[in-house]
């Protein structure tokens, strides 16, 4: 790749400040990057090929055309997996963002002990996807767990959150919201960039707090909100560890936590149907790419760059 780029440009006029030698040194220093990129791009292509094959790792891939995608459309488990993942994403991401923004606004008003609060809220986001915390979540939401004990104080008999298919996914949503701290830290940094004089001017003009939030904070924070939204969506759609540990790798109860990536893992690495798993991976890729593209398109309408 590097050699091709160097050869092609030999006779072209050079930009000022660059040289053949400089190019070569940079390309040499980028050798790890080149290998890494090849190791990403080539598998990317191969997985597209495998999506059109029947492949079990032991025998060579067998071309089956669109069969895997036909199977996907008529596979009720795949539909369940898509529904579970989308439900989770569309519930967990907005709630997390609203909580993160709310707490960031509160902290940005200035409080004594800001550092302490920020740490306390940020720490959970670092361990939220760890096996230990997912197992903890299963326990505190268990039938005799602390959540039901607290509900019992108010005379409410809580469900078996982890065993009831209607509630298991919501249990994982709470775990996701528990990790709002990462987005909160980004919001806080964004809030700090908003010049204070805007608010002073608004106060002079008699704008109330709500008005200031809607007319100053929200527009100027919109790039950061957009950043958090895109990252949150991409991350949520790829949830795996939480679902695997929570359900012991099955996606239960009754497939209610059968996340798309978990289903992909089951197909690819438990049933060794790697062709179908590759097709699932590409469906996932296309959905994420579509969401991201849509986000960028829609962002032109609501994200405001103050440049």
């Amino acid at each position: 790749m590097s050699a091709a780029t160097v050869d092609r440009g030999v006779s072209r006029p050079r930009r000022r400040g660059t040289s053949e030698r400089g190019d070569r040194i940079a390309y040499a220093l980028l050798i790890p990057w080149f290998i890494g990129m090849l190791f990403t791009l080539i598998p990317f292509g191969i997985s597209l090929y495998l999506a059109f094959t029947d492949y079990d790792l032991l025998t060579s891939p067998n071309w089956v055309g669109l069969d895997n995608f036909r199977e996907f459309i008529s596979d009720p488990k795949a539909a369940t997996a898509a529904r579970v993942t989308l439900t989770y994403t569309f519930v967990a991401v907005p709630i997390s963002l609203v909580v993160a923004l709310g707490v960031a606004l509160l902290l940005n008003r200035g409080v004594r002990g800001l550092r302490f609060y920020r740490s306390a809220f940020y720490l959970p986001s670092l361990i939220g996807a760890s096996v230990a915390v997912v197992m903890l979540w299963r326990s505190i939401f268990g039938y005799a767990g602390i959540v039901n004990q607290v509900l019992a104080w108010f005379g409410i008999q809580g469900p078996g959150w982890t065993t009831d298919p209607d509630w298991a996914l919501m249990t994982l949503v709470t775990l996701s919201v528990w990790g709002f701290g990462a987005a909160m830290v980004i919001f806080l940094a964004g809030l700090r960039q908003i010049p204070r004089m805007y608010y002073e001017a608004a106060s002079v003009d008699g704008a109330a707090t709500v008005r200031q939030f809607l007319s100053i904070t929200l527009p100027l924070l919109s790039p950061v909100l957009f950043f958090n939204l895109v990252l949150g969506l991409i991350g949520s759609l790829q949830t795996f560890t939480q679902a695997y540990v929570f359900s012991g790798g099955t996606g239960g109860p009754a497939d209610s936590t059968l996340f798309f990536n978990l289903y992909l893992y089951i197909q690819g690495f438990q049933r060794f149907d790697m062709g179908y798993a590759s097709a699932l991976a590409w469906v996932m890729f296309i959905v994420i790419a579509a969401f991201t593209a849509l986000n960028f398109l829609v962002s032109k309408r609501w994200v405001f760059y103050d440049d």
Binding site: P43, I46, V111, L114, P124, L126, I127, S130, G145, L237
Partner: protein
């Protein structure tokens, strides 16, 4: 932020002080406390309440790790009615290998990942941020593009390659990618940081006869230490918590990492071993929490920087 959609690679010396201050500052916030005493009090009430709700599960787990397994769900108090310190010793040796085996394995992988990411990502970022060569914008854009690529899309072919290479049940699939600058997020973070370093330093080095590699090693790398600390801490936490890759590539118990080992408390031991399970959960979280407290300013400043310009 704008860089994600349109990478502008030109060195921007004007932002250097701002960015460096942001990554280095111990306390980036101007403490200006607003509101009446009443509203300030209310703010604290809300924040403390929320903090308690957030941290209660962790406190409960610490408490449960000192309770007899039978009392974990019956003894509702945060202070155990009956202390049981044997959870730690029995949990430590409850699995096929003692816990130190898994801790050691996780540590080896984490250290290799830290070394790999620090060097490969920083040299790559140095090229993108400080050198001029053809294809730079495109290559940097490709790097950013891989951030949007779900890892599962490349997973199966990568697994096939690793298994054909005989790398299953070795640490190679878990560590070699770190040496190949495959973490676009870190490359991006370091590029942002290095762009902020004064260009004059590099010009002076060149006049003194420093080549690009020497400049990287002697000038840029030492100045990038705050950002490298961010990379190291994030790498440690991600590697330590990683469950999926070890699950995929390690089947031999003696090679298991802490998360893989921990999961066995849930499947193998059934529901009766709550005490030892929570004790070992605490053990598994302690290194992350320790790293968090040691390096939280790098974490918070680092994560804040990625959301900015």
């Amino acid at each position: 932020m704008t860089d994600i959609s349109a990478p502008a690679v030109a060195p921007r010396t004007s932002t250097r002080t701002g960015l460096m201050r942001r990554l280095r500052s111990t306390e980036g916030y101007q403490e200006e406390i607003t509101g009446t005493p009443g509203s300030r009090f209310l703010r604290h009430v809300v924040l403390i309440g929320l903090g308690l709700v957030m941290l209660y599960p962790l406190m409960w787990m610490v408490s449960a790790s000192f309770k007899p397994s039978t009392a974990v769900f019956n003894d509702t108090g945060l202070i155990p009615a009956q202390w049981d310190f044997t959870n730690y010793s029995s949990g430590w040796s409850a699995l096929e290998y003692p816990m130190e085996t898994y801790l050691y394995n996780s540590m080896v992988i984490a250290v290799l990942n830290i070394i790999g990411n620090i060097f490969s990502c920083s040299i790559t970022a140095y090229c993108f941020a400080r050198l001029k060569f053809r294809g730079r914008k495109l290559m940097f854009a490709m790097t950013l593009g891989t951030m949007l690529l779900p890892s599962h899309v490349v997973l199966i072919p990568q697994y096939v390659v690793f298994s054909k290479l005989g790398w299953i049940n070795t640490y190679l699939p878990l560590t070699v990618p770190a040496f190949l600058a495959t973490n676009a997020f870190f490359v991006f973070l370091l590029v942002q940081f290095m762009r902020g370093l004064p260009m004059e330093l590099q010009d002076a080095a060149r006049i003194d006869g420093c080549g690009p590699l020497r400049t990287y090693w002697s000038i840029i790398l030492p100045l990038t230490v705050p950002a490298l600390a961010t990379v190291a801490i994030f790498t440690f936490i991600a590697s330590w918590n990683d469950f999926f890759s070890p699950l995929l590539y390690l089947t031999d118990q003696v090679l298991f990492t802490v998360p893989l080992a921990l999961r066995q408390f849930m499947s193998a031991q059934g529901a009766s071993q709550w005490g030892p399970m929570f004790a070992m959960s605490i053990v598994s979280l302690l290194p992350v929490i320790a790293f968090f407290f040691i390096g939280q300013r790098y974490l918070i400043n680092g994560i804040a920087t990625t959301g900015m310009k």
